[in-house]
């Protein structure tokens, strides 16, 4: 009986192994299974870095030798003869090693300037915050000004002047260029100077000087994301391109048309602050603004709307005119003088919205709302729209009396001319025709942002002598013979006109890292070379001009003192007489009416594509900034690229799923992009963000697609183009998103109430809190302080400035798209975004989530080595150096806010990028857990200061980076033990609650429910 059994067993024996193999086969199939084998590239930067030695010769050398602070991380080892201490040879008196200094400076992006404070340690900028002295920002600043700190230390920066790719000296370059300019002047051949927007009066003066010395200099400014249409509209209406300031603090009813003024457009912190200030209410009695949004794409502004109406952008101009008509005919709001009511007749509400799903009733209630608000109503049109739309918007504002109140142009200055899309096209066609002998490309990057690459190539080929003044070896630099590296703005001087009465100053926060010069200094040297007698440095140039023009005559303060004070504050307020109220020219209005009446007749394209600047990398200038590249888009939560957003219905019609790869064709250009189905996107509207698809830069190159090629330069609205075809090219391209699941699954996570519901709750003292959970364990004692946070969901608009500020403050690594896809992002604070209701037009809720510092922290009991513990001041602490990396704490964290170093992300940082590290925070090595600390380094420092000054801590003295950065002031931080502290007050508010209260973990973070204010909500608007 043995043998048969024996044979059978052999069979069975092998069977066992076979079944194992089969089972392994299952996982070999999927891509992620192999994904982990390819090594991680995108976060890794250019290996050629600046050695520490060259650094240590500079005056900003840190007391602790940089390599020791940064590189070693937490690896404990024998430290015999390992380190040297290198003190200053001459210590600058303002620097105490180990103590941070702050310098006021100014950040500019396009037409927007923001006052900032640059935090430096041992002369090296490590963080950027808003400048509280600044009347516009008031201590708030946009996420991109914070993130641009990384640009300063970008390893890709040009490190010295070069000619045709070979290094050269500044003197050599100067000589050569001046000679060429001379010959150009003598031969009367034109010289092109292409810059980005000129907001600085002194820079402008300098360019004028250059013009005077070089009569044939042709200066043009190119800002791809500037509000071109609005400028031309205002020019036509009021004679000059003066953009009124949107006074959201005064506006009770705001109606935005395809305008993302809270999001990607300029990301103006002042606007966000004013808007949010009217959203966060302490009780139902408070007044609240109401936001109506008409838009095609789902923008961040739309996500915060009380009423969001999806509509095709091409239909917006008629729609606004229709609203104006209704206001005029039905509600008796007077039209501006000279405009007869008949011209509005083609725009009847019902007619305009006939081909869309919008109910006229809703529009009527909007009109009532606007009339009620009167001059505190505010209509805003987005930069993508046509000039007519902007004209219509101005008309609306003029009718309601908002012009001059909610739209305040009294202190605005005319915007200096900018090239339109048509303009730059013409310019380069002229250049291609051989108009220019010399071209200087300063700052702006036309080789990338010029819609038609062919035109640029032709132009570049035809310009014999091309000079690039810029930071990087970018697309334009690659096409230019001379590459003159420029100072980063943190290394440079400058001044800006924020408005007629506010002048803002820029000063270097550190000496230049590389062998670079300030662009203005380069121009000055040319001026001198061309024989004009002028200042030696741009600093002297500014000071001279200021002494002439800004320094108040007959002031008692001597100019040097005045100048130093100005530098210290970073801003100067001066008397300026407000410009008189303005009335729209009727002929401009009628012309616009006729044009849009014509537009109304012809049927819209099957799918309109809206191109918009990205919330993170803007128009592409920050594409090489890892922090911004990895910043989740506030709405889609997509990182590292620009997927095509389609509406639910269109995706269904085209049978497309998320992450399908498609080719879109518009006009002559076509693009291969992955698809994301975006709830709330208007049917027939697709959208794609600009700023990606760069071809140069170690971070930027190959990320996303360049959407500029789709812009229709000749059209009335270049950034809204008709898509001819969308066809599936087969295959899928995974979109790295930090959030995969968008429904709240009926869980009580982010609470929302309408104003009326809130009033009802308060009236019936229904706080929505569950019953108090009983515990057998005695509560913890917090004798001195108990740090806590309150996050106001009503104020929070989801802009994600907190994420960037946190990343900068806590030296959080960038991990790259592959890691994001695997779910290994490192952000300590994230902004969760949920959709509620009909996917065609859902309600959007933003909820910043960070470590909740639970009193009964689940992570603490499960850590086997006591690496995460509770402090007597209520913090859930994480000691990286003790962590062995069991990751149990993360499993047991209900909020999943803990991040794990799956790889050694720090070693991927290259000099000088690691100078951006905060010396007060440990650099986390591979294999340890990390998480939000409430910025323990700031808490410690604040306590030590108070302690050594022998006083108690003041409320608001200690703030984590996110709270400082939050433009909406949605994050309140302080001591919960102090009943008078802001955070304690906020936590007591009626709409306060703890997330996942029923778990009994007792978070230190209180959320304030989001209050919306729809018309039905009886808001006091």
């Amino acid at each position: 009986m043995d043998d048969p059994i024996f044979i059978k067993n052999e069979g069975q024996h092998s069977l066992r192994y076979r079944s194992l193999k089969e089972w392994i086969g299952q996982t070999q199939g999927d891509p992620a299974a192999t994904g982990s084998f390819d090594e991680f590239s995108p976060a890794a930067f250019d290996p050629v870095g600046m050695p520490v030695e060259t650094l240590s010769r500079r005056r900003f050398l840190s007391l602790l030798s940089a390599s020791a602070t940064l590189a070693l991380g937490t690896s404990a080892c024998s430290r015999i003869d390992r380190e040297t201490i290198v003190p200053y040879t001459r210590r600058p008196e303002e620097i105490i090693p180990g103590v941070a200094n702050y310098y006021a400076s100014t950040f500019r992006e396009g037409l927007i300037t923001q006052g900032v404070l640059v935090k430096t340690r041992e002369g090296r900028p490590i963080h950027v915050e808003g400048n509280p002295e600044h009347p516009l920002g008031m201590g708030k600043t946009s996420l991109r000004s914070v993130a641009d700190l990384l640009g300063l230390y970008d390893p890709d920066r040009l490190r010295g002047p070069s000619r045709a790719g070979t290094r050269t000296t500044w003197e050599e370059a100067g000589r050569e260029i001046v000679r060429t300019l001379r010959t150009a002047r003598d031969s009367r051949s034109a010289v092109l100077l292409l810059t980005d927007a000129v907001v600085s009066p002194t820079q402008n003066a300098l360019i004028q000087d250059l013009k005077n010395t070089l009569p044939n200099l042709h200066h043009a400014a190119w800002e791809p994301a500037a509000p071109h249409a609005e400028m031309s509209a205002t020019k036509a209406l009021f004679g000059e391109a003066v953009l009124g300031r949107m006074r959201l603090d005064r506006a009770d009813v705001i109606v935005a048309f395809e305008a993302d003024f809270l999001g990607s457009e300029g990301n103006d912190a002042a606007l966000i602050r004013d808007f949010a200030a009217r959203r966060s209410i302490s009780g139902p009695a408070d007044t609240m603004n109401r936001l109506w949004v008409f838009e095609g794409r789902m923008s961040l502004t739309g996500a915060n709307a009380d009423h969001r109406i999806p509509v095709r952008p091409s239909r917006i101009a008629p729609l606004i005119f229709a609203l104006a008509g209704h206001l005029n005919q039905k509600l008796g709001v007077a039209l501006p003088t000279g405009l007869n009511a008949q011209s509005l007749s083609p725009f009847a509400l019902e007619a305009v919205v006939a081909d869309s799903a919008i109910e006229p009733a809703l529009l009527r209630s909007l009109c009532d709302d606007l009339k009620r608000a009167g001059r505190s109503a505010l209509a805003i049109a987005g930069p993508a729209l046509t000039q007519e739309a902007h004209t219509a918007c101005q008309l609306l504002n003029a009718m309601l009396g908002a012009e001059g109140y909610a739209v305040d142009a009294s202190m605005s200055l005319p915007v200096r001319d900018l090239l339109t899309y048509a303009g730059i096209q013409d310019l380069f066609e002229e250049a291609a025709a051989g108009k220019f002998a010399v071209a200087v490309f300063w700052g702006t990057n036309p080789a990338y942002s010029c819609p038609q690459a062919s035109v640029w190539k032709a132009a570049a080929a035809k310009i014999p002598f091309k000079i690039r003044i810029g930071l990087y070896e970018d697309e334009t630099a690659l096409d230019c013979g001379w590459r003159l590296p420029e100072h980063h703005w943190l290394e440079a001087w400058g001044d800006f006109e924020c408005s007629a009465d506010v002048l803002s100053l820029r000063q270097p926060a550190m000496g230049a890292i590389h062998n670079t010069r300030q662009g203005e200094d380069i121009l000055l040297s040319w001026l001198r070379g061309l024989g004009t007698n002028t200042r030696q440095t741009y600093l002297e140039y500014i000071k001279a001009r200021w002494e002439r023009e800004v320094y108040p005559a007959g002031s008692l303060v001597p100019f040097p003192a005045y100048w130093n004070a100005a530098l210290h504050d970073g801003v100067v307020l001066r008397e300026a007489k407000p410009r008189p109220g303005r009335n729209p020219r009727p002929e401009a209005l009628t012309e616009a009416l006729e044009r849009s009446a014509a537009a109304l007749k012809k049927a819209p394209a099957s799918i309109e594509l809206v191109l918009h600047p990205a919330a993170s990398v803007y128009d592409g200038r920050y594409a090489n900034n890892g922090w911004l590249a990895e910043l989740p888009d506030p709405v889609t939560k997509a990182t590292w690229g620009n997927p095509l957003l389609l509406s639910v219905s269109d995706a269904a019609r085209l049978q497309l799923k998320d992450e399908d790869q498609v080719r879109i064709t518009a006009g002559s250009a076509s693009l291969d992009v992955p698809v994301i189905i975006q709830p709330g996107q208007a049917p027939g509207v697709a959208s794609l963000s600009l700023g990606y698809g760069r071809s140069a830069g170690n971070v930027a190159a190959g990320v996303g697609n360049n959407a500029y090629v789709l812009a229709e330069t000749s059209a009335a609205a270049p950034l809204i183009c008709a898509i001819a075809r969308i066809e599936r090219t087969g295959g899928r391209r995974p979109v790295p998103r930090t959030q995969d699941h968008f429904r709240m699954e009926g869980r009580d996570l982010a609470r929302t109430r309408t104003l009326s519901e809130f009033a009802h709750d308060v009236a019936h003292s229904d706080t929505g809190k569950g019953h108090e959970l009983q515990s057998l364990i005695p509560p913890q004692q917090f004798p001195e302080h108990r740090w806590g946070m309150a996050i106001d969901l009503s104020a929070c608009i989801g802009c994600s400035a907190c994420v960037i500020a946190c990343q900068s403050e806590n030296s959080i690594p960038v991990v790259g798209p592959e890691r994001i896809i695997e779910g290994r992002e490192m952000h300590w604070i994230r902004v969760d975004r949920y959709y509620e209701g009909d996917p065609a037009n859902p309600k959007v809720i933003h909820q910043p989530v960070t470590c909740q510092h639970c009193e009964n922290a689940p992570c603490e009991i499960v850590c086997p080595v006591n690496a995460t513990t509770h402090s007597p001041d209520g913090l859930n602490q994480m000691s990286y150096n003790r962590c062995v990396g069991t990751r149990y704490c993360s499993n047991n964290c209900p909020y999943k806010v803990r991040r794990f170093n799956f790889f050694d992300y720090t070693s991927m940082k290259k000099q000088p990028e690691n100078l951006a590290f905060n010396p007060e925070v440990t650099v986390r090595p591979r294999g340890v857990m990390e998480k939000c600390t409430f910025c323990i380094q700031r808490i410690d420092d604040g306590r030590q200061r108070a302690n050594s000054e022998g006083r108690r801590l003041r409320d608001g003295e200690i703030l984590p980076a996110c709270a400082v950065a939050c433009p909406a002031q949605a994050i309140v931080f302080g001591d919960l033990n102090d009943p008078r502290s802001k955070v304690a007050a906020a936590s007591r508010l009626g709409r306060g609650y703890h997330m996942l209260e029923d778990l009994g973990v007792k978070p230190a973070v209180t959320y304030l429910a989001d209050i919306s204010n729809p018309v039905s909500g009886k808001g006091k608007a």
Partner: protein, 468 residues
């Protein structure tokens, strides 16, 4: 224990239910020694070398990948946030589970005087030890910084701090280490007399030397036997407790946390049952091979296998009960999170894993109700393999499916194992079977001395001895 409570079923039960003889046919002491001890002295057959080459190759693959992981980082695995534990802990729990049959057989059955265990205890214990070796690997390599894993041990240090004794992982360290130590001791103690016999039998000087060391001077004197029996009973007593404690503690890793689907009071018994279940399956697989390839059919009889299959069947029913209890808890607790998690088990991202578990652990073992299948090699191997796979997937479901969707939907993320994960799992199987193969050649796979004690008519009188 009071021996009078223990009565051999032989006397009171009807013929059909009587315990069949321990051996198939009469075996004399000399025959037994020859049969059990001689393989150790003989040169292994070709088939063994092939098998050994294969398994050790697989083992080396695993070791290589572990090296790669330690050099590069946990990132080469599929783990992420929220699924911070993946194959690593699945394999750990799986292997610890495999170990349990051995201890149960050698310790608990010894105390219960189940005479049939003597034939299989040796190999079962061996499996236990090998399984724990595979298991202990994972807690070590799964941490982010394995070179600091020694911090988990409470030793006097210059930091002035201790580990966190509140953490279940801490308890694990103690539980598993104790378990390994006791099992090893128990196993070695059982081996001592056999080493002695080998020492006496062998001719080669070297072998004699090593056997002499291992047999620790055993001469089989009455006092030796006396102490031996005492020690054996004492350790058996200890081990008995461990059978229950170890996997209970392992289950605390989950039960103590607040992850929906982990936070369950049923976990300790549920895990212990599962462990014994998986363990017996593995023992059956190995024994069938050993018995046939090494011609031990007369000592390890079909009866042995059938009894083990009965235990497997019992465990299968226990598992079924546990699964039902989970479902009941999910429904009765009215807790939306647990609701969701349980729905995920059967109809979520990893529904296939859930159903594999149920099919392999509950449905397939039901075959063993049929006596003919209980006694048929193909059937029992099929069931055993199914159970092994099923129990692995059970841990997969518990860990991955629960973690990948817990409290905040915003944090939900899918988990995909990488090839490295699979390679390391495969490697531990390689390690396991390599050790098994070595064991089969260098040690007597049957405790000849224990066997002698139960051979017909050869019961030595020990205190509380059996009533025959």
């Amino acid at each position: 224990m009071n021996s009078r409570t223990v009565s051999m079923p032989g006397q009171i039960l009807p013929e059909s239910l009587r315990t069949p003889p321990i051996t198939a046919g009469p075996v004399s002491l000399a025959e037994l020694d020859e049969q059990v001890l001689s393989p150790v002295e003989r040169k292994p057959p070709k088939a063994w070398f092939f098998a050994f080459a294969f398994t050790s190759a697989v083992m080396l693959l695993g070791m290589g990948l572990i090296g790669y992981t330690i050099a590069t980082g946990i990132g080469v695995w599929g783990n992420n946030i929220p699924v911070a534990w993946g194959f690593d802990i699945i394999n750990f729990v799986f292997w610890v589970g495999i170990g349990h049959a051995g201890t149960l057989i050698s310790a608990i059955l010894l105390l219960f005087r189940a005479r049939w265990r003597n034939a299989i205890s040796r190999s079962a214990e061996a499996l236990t030890i090998f399984a724990i070796m595979c298991a202990t690997l994972f807690p070590l390599i799964h941490v982010g910084r394995p070179w600091l894993a020694f911090w988990l041990f409470p030793y006097p240090n210059q930091r002035g701090i201790w580990p966190n004794f509140r953490s279940p992982l801490m308890w694990d360290v103690f539980a598993v280490n104790t378990y390994f130590a006791v099992s090893l001791l128990f196993w070695y103690l059982g081996l001592v007399p056999d080493f002695a016999s080998l020492r006496e039998r062998t001719q080669s000087k070297i072998r004699k030397f090593f056997y002499a060391i291992l047999s620790a001077g055993w001469r089989g004197s009455a006092s030796h036997w006396h102490h031996y029996e005492k020690a054996y009973l004492v350790i058996a007593g200890l081990a008995t407790g461990l059978v229950l404690s170890v996997h209970s503690v392992v289950s605390f890793d989950f039960a103590v946390s607040l992850v929906p689907g982990w936070h369950m009071t049923i976990f300790p018994p549920y895990f212990v049952a599962g462990a014994i279940f998986a363990g017996f399956a593995m023992v059956v697989i190995v024994l069938v091979v050993v018995r046939t390839t090494m011609r031990l059919e007369n000592l390890i009889t079909l009866y042995h296998l059938e009894v083990m299959n009965k235990i497997i069947l019992t465990c299968a029913c226990l598992m079924g009960y546990s699964y039902l209890m989970e479902a009941w808890t999910a429904w009765y607790s009215m807790n939306s999170y647990i609701h969701h998690t349980f729905r995920q088990y059967v109809a979520g991202t990893y529904w296939w894993a859930g159903w594999t578990t149920i099919t392999c652990n509950i449905v397939i073992p039901q075959l063993l109700w049929v006596r003919r299948l209980r006694r048929s090699y193909p059937a029992m191997i099929f069931v055993a393999v199914a159970v092994t796979v099923g129990m692995w997937f059970e841990r997969f479901v518990i860990i991955v499916s629960s973690l990948h969707q817990d409290f905040l939907p915003s944090a939900w993320h899918i988990y995909k194992p990488t090839l490295v994960d699979c390679g390391i799992l495969l490697g531990t199987f390689g390690l396991f079977f390599t050790l098994v193969l070595l064991f089969a050649r260098v040690l007597p796979v049957i405790a000849s001395t224990e066997m002698k004690s139960v051979l017909p008519g050869m019961q030595p009188r020990r205190e509380g001895g059996t009533h025959e």
